[in-house]
Amino acid sequence: MTDLTDLTLHQAAASLRAGEVSSRELTEACLDRLAAVDPRLRSFLSVTADLARTAAEAADRQLAAWRRGTTTAGQSPSPLLGVPLAIKDVLCLRGTVTTAGSRILEGFVAPYSATAVERLLVAGAVILGKTNCDEFAMGSSTENSGYDVTHNPWDLARVPGGSSGGSAAAVAARLTFGALGSDTGGSIRQPAAYCGLAGLKTSYGRVSRYGLIAYGSSLDSIGPLARSVADLAALFSATAGHDPRDATSLPAPVPPVDLAAADVTGLRVGVPKEYFVAGIQPEVEAAVRAAVVRLAELGAQVVEISLPHTEYALPVYYLIAPAEASANLARFDGVRYGPGITAAEAGHNGGTSAAPLWARYEATRGTGFGPEVKRRIMLGTYALSAGYYDAYYGQAQKVRTLIRRDFDLAFQQVDVIACPVAPTTAFRIGEKTDDPLAMYLEDIFTLPASLAGICGLSVPCGFDAQGLPIGVQLLGPALGEDRLLRVGHAYEQATDWHTRRPPL
């Protein structure tokens, strides 16, 4: 018998319903593997073992009742009932420590649960713990975490990508059957590609942001990472849909994703020429082009398209996201939560009544935030300042509209867009930490979709010479998750890249 942790989410759910395995057994298998492997991987920031065991036992009771046919509803339980999952530490889970990877929230116990997390709990999922990430989701390697550097299960000397690197590493290393991440500029799609996983960046507003510690509020979206597109579909269906607690959540219904109808015959696939540029790793380009060929062989019609404002996405993103972040992170002042540092601790000896307060702010924020977070707060503060607003933030908003229009026009021509997720495969830990700009370039293929608020899917499409996974990015229009998942599933059915497991 294969190791329980090797099952996909769907296989695990099927075994649970068949009574071949209990949720408690699955949970213990995950916790055991976590204890054995994670000291090398460092993908979890906190493990909620007690909570998980309690949830597993409750799920087993529900499953038993369902098998006996004594449930009142009589319908099939949620595919997530009893399935162990992990959540990125930017999502609040009531009663547990939630830090967003930042020291400034060390020990902060969330007083409420995020809507997406709440929906997983309602579906009966078992939450194993909170996964590591770049501090406040600002980064592309998880090296910016205030706690730990997470390692890539395919090569421990390399980064798992970021910012949802902990979620990606944990799913790839079989510590959990799936995980939630967040994607502001590529933070689900890129780590999914680096770790050989399927990852879905949902359309802006598709999954409620309530309880997601904000980075760039107009860009943040929540989505799943898993070992198959079918698994993503289950996680997406459970978490998506309107939430009255998030004014920007879309009031559109979430129809069930029918993967049986996955067929790409006649599908128009756009290949944007701006995404195949100098600097892209040749093996990445080759694998992505091969994936497009595979889709064509399956019946899709390939069309070259142009997204002319692509090159502006990077500067636009690095104005808008930091500007929003500079306000979003103002609340971390040490007054209500987090380890606030007093004026005395900061070595301040009093004076005017206002000064100790400012000393406290400076001490708390100066020591609590890491360098990348400070860099973005300063960038954003500058972009919003009087005299600079029009030239920076105001201008960026205008260009963002042009980027959005690129996609609007493209989706009049094609059904999905296929392109690379990132220009390279996973890089070495420390390789880019001294060069923020090189790190920012990691996101050039994922930023445009974030700015446009559309949905994007990362699916494994090959490996480089060093055995590192490569992902292809499929982009769909806003609310087009259903279409993307069907195309991704069809591609997976025709390939076996997603079935390979890391050596760990």
Binding site: C92, Y210, P244, A327, R331, V335, T381, L384, S385, A386
Partner: protein, 482 residues
């Protein structure tokens, strides 16, 4: 001494606390008066990580109603919320959600009747919706700064007027009229002691007859109408002395100290913060579509000054009466209802309302509409007096009985035999009794006819106030002449 006359130039920025049930972006109760600190709070209004605001529609409805009442030429079909960034311990998110360049209402005006009979029309530049911050206070005993977040997220409207007021007294009149309007519309309880109405005043002076604007000072923290008047008066005097002495008025921000009745300089305007406003990405634009606006404006009542004019015109009331009766919407409604039910001369009802009903509302601290003694009761009671069934004195005594029992005045009169005694026989018998019992006064009356009133009083006393006084007087005159 130079004889230059200065003209005051005063504009106001007023923060109005709305009387909605819940706060502007969460479900916490908006009114925390008397509540222990930090009891009306939740993840949203305390700025917990990940919490998001959701706009309370009732706030928009009250804002639209007020914008219409102050004749805003623009009630924006689409307005926006922005973030105003600054650090302070009573501001949990590190920014205030407010409306900056696209507020809900613009270009309005409001007319203020002045005591000299003239009317001042003041331009309202803009009014916008925003959230309130919390409160901090020092606790020297513990060496701590305490924060109460109950007030965080309480809905406010900020109204900015043009510098069109020409005296401290006009500013006070404006606030009195605004307070009346806010209560009339039921958008705010407008209780200044509870800080429902907070006023900043922009004050400058110029040579009379000129039209330019000089550097102004901003007076903060004035929280009663008297304080607004006193602070502006004080500052106008200071500016006049400065200019007369050949000095310039600096653009300072001043704070009014109620206890010492003095102004303190808080800061120079040059050091004003950069708030780095930008659109609030967590909220959608505020869309007030035609249908919604129409629905809201259905509830826009006749306004106080309009009603006052109508009372003078339609009921032929003196201006003084019309002013008193329209001070407050519930009282004016009461008057109209009673007047309609009575059907007779409106001035008679107006007198009763101004005397008895106004007294009751004060005694019971209740609006007229909330009294157990209803407008229908009043109409019936006044009808009994006018028909000479009961005396005025009996009627006044009946009011509390009606209120307590809930029974109609006529029913009580019948049940208790309170009807006025007007029969000649009954009154003559009473008068004879009084004369028989008072030989000394009868003696004195011959020299002093004014004593007649004393005899009437005795008859009233014997009848427990029910005697028809003019008739009794006539009978007594006859009998005493015998």
């Amino acid at each position: 001494m130079s004889a230059i006359a200065y003209e005051p130039v005063v504009g106001l920025e007023i923060h109005i606390q709305l009387n909605t049930q819940s706060k502007v972006f969460c479900a916490c109760p908006a009114d925390s008066w008397g509540a222990p600190p930090n009891t009306h709070i939740c993840p949203v209004c305390t700025g917990q990580p990940g919490a998001l605001p959701v706009l309370n529609r009732a706030v928009v409805e009250k804002a639209v109603l007020l914008a219409a009442a102050v004749h805003c030429q623009e009630i924006q079909a689409r307005s926006f919320f922005d973030r105003k960034n600054y650090f302070y311990p009573d501001l949990p998110k590190g920014y205030q959600i407010t409306q900056y360049d696209q507020p809900i209402g613009r270009r309005g005006w409001f007319e203020v009747p002045l005591p000299d009979g003239q009317t001042r029309r003041l331009t309202i530049h803009k009014m916008h919706m925003e959230e309130d911050a919390g409160k901090t206070k020092n606790d020297p005993a513990r060496g701590a700064r305490l924060i109460d977040m109950n007030r965080c997220g309480v809905p406010l409207i900020e109204m900015v007027t043009a510098p069109g007021l020409r005296s401290a007294g006009e500013a006070a009149q404006f606030l009195i009229r605004l307070r009346q309007l806010l209560r009339w519309l039921d958008v705010s309880d407008a209780n200044m002691e509870r800080a429902h109405l907070r006023c900043d005043a922009n004050v400058s002076i110029r040579a009379a007859g000129t039209t330019g604007l000089n550097p102004k000072t901003e007076i903060k923290n004035v929280n009663s109408i008297e304080a607004v008047r006193d602070a502006i008066e004080t500052e106008l005097g200071r500016q006049a002395r400065e200019v007369s002495a050949g000095r310039r008025v600096e653009a300072w921000t001043l704070e009014w100290d109620e206890d010492s009745q003095t102004l303190h300089k808080m800061r120079s305007k040059e050091t004003e913060a950069d708030y780095r406003y930008f659109r609030e990405p967590d909220l959608l634009p505020v869309e007030v579509a035609d249908a919604w606006r129409e629905a809201i404006l259905q509830r826009l009542p006749e306004l106080p000054l309009e009603r006052r004019a109508r009372f003078i015109e339609a009921y032929r009331l003196p201006a003084y009466d019309a002013t008193i009766l329209t001070e407050e919407r519930s009282l004016s409604d009461y008057f109209e209802a009673a007047s309609a039910a009575f059907g007779g001369e409106p001035k008679i009802i107006a007198n009763w309302v101004q005397n008895e009903i106004l007294r009751l509302t004060k005694e019971q601290n209740s609006p007229a509409g909330g009294l157990a003694f209803t407008a229908a009761h009043l109409a019936e009671l006044v009808g009994l007096v006018e028909d000479k069934v009961i005396t005025r004195q009996t009627a006044v005594g009946l009011i509390s009985q009606v209120a307590e029992s809930g029974r109609a005045p006529r029913a009580l009169v019948e049940a208790q035999g309170l009807a006025q005694i007007s029969s000649d026989d009954a009154l003559r018998a009473l008068a004879r009794e009084v004369i028989a019992e008072s030989p000394e006064q009868v003696q004195a009356y011959r020299a002093k006819p004014a004593l007649l009133n004393w005899f009437v009083g005795q008859v009233m006393r014997k009848s427990k106030g029910k005697a028809n006084a003019p008739l009794a007087e006539k009978i007594l005159t006859d009998l005493l002449a015998e």
